[in-house]
């Protein structure tokens, strides 16, 4: 107990602060490469949140898929397009201000609608084992077997589609 909060609450606060800060840096940094690196840091913070939520397997998958695969793809495309500059064209100030106002109003609507949700029907409290590989595998391969197979077809279609789109010309 530190200052009346438990270690978990401290970790939650620090991780939340870091993820929001890095998320803001993704939007506000000038260089696209810096944006990608800040997004990777945001994803690590979100993986920390998954660990706090007893979803260990999901945290590992999150780091492998997002930080390992998707972000490397982003970096590769940015390097390929030679966008590693600080002086890319910006939107006008008026449209940036309008975007900020629109986001703030959306935040007001969301927070206002979430204020009434304090009496949620809570069934059981934490310290559960459902985030472990064994339980998730059981659910995934029994209840969600058909969507799992459909997801494999989706990935195959994305693979074929991206190769076809990315080719120089179709002979």
């Amino acid at each position: 107990m530190l200052l009346g909060y438990t270690i978990t609450q401290w970790l939650f606060g620090i991780l939340s602060f870091l993820s929001i800060m890095f998320g803001l840096m993704v939007v506000f940094s000038r260089n696209p490469v810096n944006s990608v690196l800040y997004l990777v840091l945001t994803f690590f913070c979100i993986a920390g949140h998954y660990l706090l939520l007893n979803a260990q397997f999901l945290a590992v998958v999150h780091i492998v898929v997002y930080a390992g695969a998707i972000m490397v793809l982003f970096l590769f495309v940015i390097m390929l397009m030679d966008l590693n500059h600080d002086n890319e064209p910006q939107k006008t100030w008026i449209s940036k201000i309008i975007a900020g106002i629109a986001g703030g109003m959306l935040l007001c609507v969301l927070v206002g609608s979430l204020k009434g949700s304090e009496q949620l029907g809570i069934s059981q409290y934490g310290s559960s084992q459902i985030g472990m590989v064994k339980n998730l595998g059981k659910v995934l391969f029994s209840e969600f077997l058909f969507p799992f197979e459909i997801a494999s077809i989706l990935l195959l279609a994305a693979l074929v589609g991206s190769i076809m789109i990315g080719k120089k010309e179709i002979k």
Binding site: A55, L107, L114, E118, N135, S162
Partner: protein
Amino acid sequence: MINGISINYYLLLSAVLFIIGAVGVMARRNSIIIFMCIELMLNAVNLLLVAFSTLHNDASGQVFVFFIMAVAAAEVAVGLAILSMIYRNVKTIDTDILSNLKN
């Protein structure tokens, strides 16, 4: 409460992350950064799904997160292929220049 943290804090954190992504989509011109902000919005929703899955002791939410990750991977692969093709033809990925389909 999950380990002494109220679910309302998770709701608030996810809302803030989602709004950051939405503002990024509206305020930036670089298509790749718009893509990254969409990823941020997807992750905000994923975090909330995991929080509610732990709250209710139900594994379905975490399985949904798996499927969202698979769809996000497919989306990024196809989207970046489209962007690189556009860049090869038009030499820019600025959304204010790419504002009409017939370029």
